[in-house]
Symmetry: C3
Subunit: 308 residues, 3 copies
């Protein structure tokens, strides 16, 4: 993948080499992301941050990345109702915004919206989440976090826990994990199992995976445990939900007994699926993911602008 | 017009000399607007961008202008409900905001609101649209675009198309065109003809104008065709609307036959009045207007702050 | 009080020495707040400005303070509905935002919210108003204004006028005035008298106070008159409100007769409790308070980041 002037719309654009290249650049960005140094790589550059639906965490991460590298931002939030969109096609909006900015981060509730933007803007477009479809910067920071926490990715056993049927983050993560030699452990209620198409993708690459219902048992054999939320709304049978909901909660008691060396991740926000007593567990990496996110987004921005 | 410390509230403030001066400054701003150079003219200066109604395009344009010249912005959007306004008069808000910023861009749904702001703030106020009244930065960038696209304004024939009765942009543009030796072509449905007061203003200056119903015929004799939207809501008789709506659409077929050298302009957003096949027509200048808008707003800001 | 890395959550944290120290730093900040000089003290630093309820004046003041010192801001307004909060605890949000910013200003409708943020964020938190509880930056700028306007605080007689029962600003101001040798004059309708606990606090410090119903009489004996609004909604008997509402309005006629040297203050927005003819009265300091607010917030930010 040649990053210069590229759009980053989907994790499917990445192969192992481009992932590794991005990780290297992200590592160089860490002193800026960690507030140790002030960057100037983006001096004179503007990021347009267009959030057609709210996601303050992702927006702050992109804007922080840009500003700590010396760049500027112009920002629109919840702009579904605004005049930039008033009857205007996304295609026209893209042709307008390219006149203002050097790079665009777009969050939009509809699948494919980032692609439309990229097709019409002559400047790089970074997909900051297009509905149920893709959220590549999240998956890239997840992979970067795994590598940083464990020192490698090959050889690891990665558990994904919770709603594996609808969860965008675990799907995207699965696509990226395929580029490494990992074992996959899938932990979910029956109603929310990983869709077959993803299992087939593991098979294609010869990656071993197993489905385990018990979180403790899964934790025992996993180096990394990626938690996600099990939403009540997903269940047709609420008795089933009540019965299962606690089965997918990570607690200090559980992890201390199962695997004291495990790395615990979560895309945030957590609702109750990681108990508060986990916060000072050494392997709890979910807030470190946020910091890694800034470095990874710095890398994305720098790479597409040819400044890495 | 002495720009230094002036407010820019209305196109009526401009004579030919002040327009030409603004165009000269805008031309010098182009390398910054076009992202070729990083400016520092506005270092240490703050633009307050107060948008009491949404208009992301105009807001982004002002903010981009300020930031690419090295300045900063503080920004409030849809602040009708906010505490800066909670029961507070516009006059008091002006006296507050002048303590924070060096220059103010205000967008407000009520006619005269920008004037109230200007009367009470000791710093320059730029009207970014006060309801049906004025939107001078739009008209200035329109004039600048005509000059850039055609190399001159004197001697041109300018067609204005669509809703000439209610359209704020064509009214403001008319007021500025009076300072040049141009011919005017007016193309609109009967219900939406240019009001008499503007025709009288053309007469006062001895400018020739004619009303033509057929867009193709108008295009044949025009150097510049300024398109605007014909809104359904303006018609009392919807049959009349249905009959007419396609008569004021610019398409590739029409312009190729009528006038291959015409310049096509539009204040955006376009809804359907310029067909998509126009986008790669050489004379289609409506997205270039956006870029010119940044240069023109850079000129406005710099002039009123005495930094041009 | 050691400011470095401290949170500023309440006026109760301040003693006389820390107030005086803050005032000294604010005085040094004035050239930057008054737009005479461009600062660089905050170069490379980011303020996260989190406004869970709108307060554009306070937000602009913090953001202006940061930007005029060369720093940057990331800003979220009305974020109650946003994903940073979607089901997430304030504690988790604090742990996320600390990864992006160097210092946080938070405005939130609930008492104690700023404390929760401070308990969970490893970076300094500045309370920009937590509901009915505290709004320390307002009280600090009020004290600073008194000192600037009068050259001293000891020995002054300070009148507080209006809603003394529910008014957060007069309560906070009272707590800070206790550190000086002042006389207090309390002017309010019976329904809205200063709560006993504050009177007791005056007693503890041996500060003389008196309650006066007549504003003119109060003005005669006061150096500073701090006006606040009397809200209709506070009255159970609307006849009582109608009878009283004009008794607590400061007008030019009243002050010219009572005390031409008085300093008139108000936290803004004023609704009608200071008449417009007061605006060019020499002692009217309510818009100067806004300017002082920028200098005081510059001092707060610089002190907690150890850069003062």
């Amino acid at each position: 993948m040649d990053f210069k002037n590229a759009d980053i719309l989907s994790t499917e654009q990445f192969d192992r080499a481009s992932l590794e290249h991005l990780f290297e650049v992200a590592l160089k960005m860490e002193p800026f992301a960690k507030k140790e140094k002030k960057g100037d790589l983006m001096n004179g550059k503007i990021l347009a941050s267009l959030f057609y639906e709210p996601s303050t965490r992702t927006r702050f991460s992109f804007e922080t990345a840009m500003k700590r590298l010396g760049g500027e931002t112009i920002s629109a939030t919840e702009i579904a109702s605004s005049s930039i969109f008033k009857g205007e096609t996304l295609a026209d909006t893209a042709k307008v915004v390219e006149k203002f900015a050097d790079v665009i981060a777009i969050r939009h509730p509809e699948s494919g919206s980032a692609q439309v933007f990229a097709d019409n803007a002559s400047i790089p477009v970074l997909n900051a989440g297009d509905g149920p479809n893709q959220h590549p910067s999240q998956s890239l920071l997840d992979m970067y976090t795994i590598k940083k926490e464990c020192g490698k990715i090959d050889g690891l056993t990665i558990a994904m826990v919770g709603d594996l049927k609808y969860g965008r983050t675990v799907h995207s993560l699965s696509l990226l994990l395929r580029h490494y030699d990992v074992k996959i452990v899938l932990v979910s209620p029956d109603e929310l199992k990983m869709p077959k198409e993803y299992l087939e993708k593991f098979d294609e690459k010869g990656l071993a995976y197993e489905e385990i219902l018990d979180l403790g048992e899964a934790a025992k054999k996993s180096d990394v445990i990626y938690m996600t939320r099990v939403q009540k709304e997903r269940f047709t049978d609420l008795n089933e939900y009540e019965k299962l909901k606690n089965a997918f909660v990570m607690s200090r008691g559980l992890i201390e007994e199962a695997n004291k060396k495990a790395i615990i991740m979560h895309p945030l926000p957590r609702i109750g699926e990681i108990s508060l007593d986990m916060d000072d567990f050494a392997g709890s990496a979910y807030f470190r993911q946020v910091e890694n996110g800034v470095a990874v987004r710095m890398a994305m921005i720098s790479l597409v602008l040819g400044k890495a």
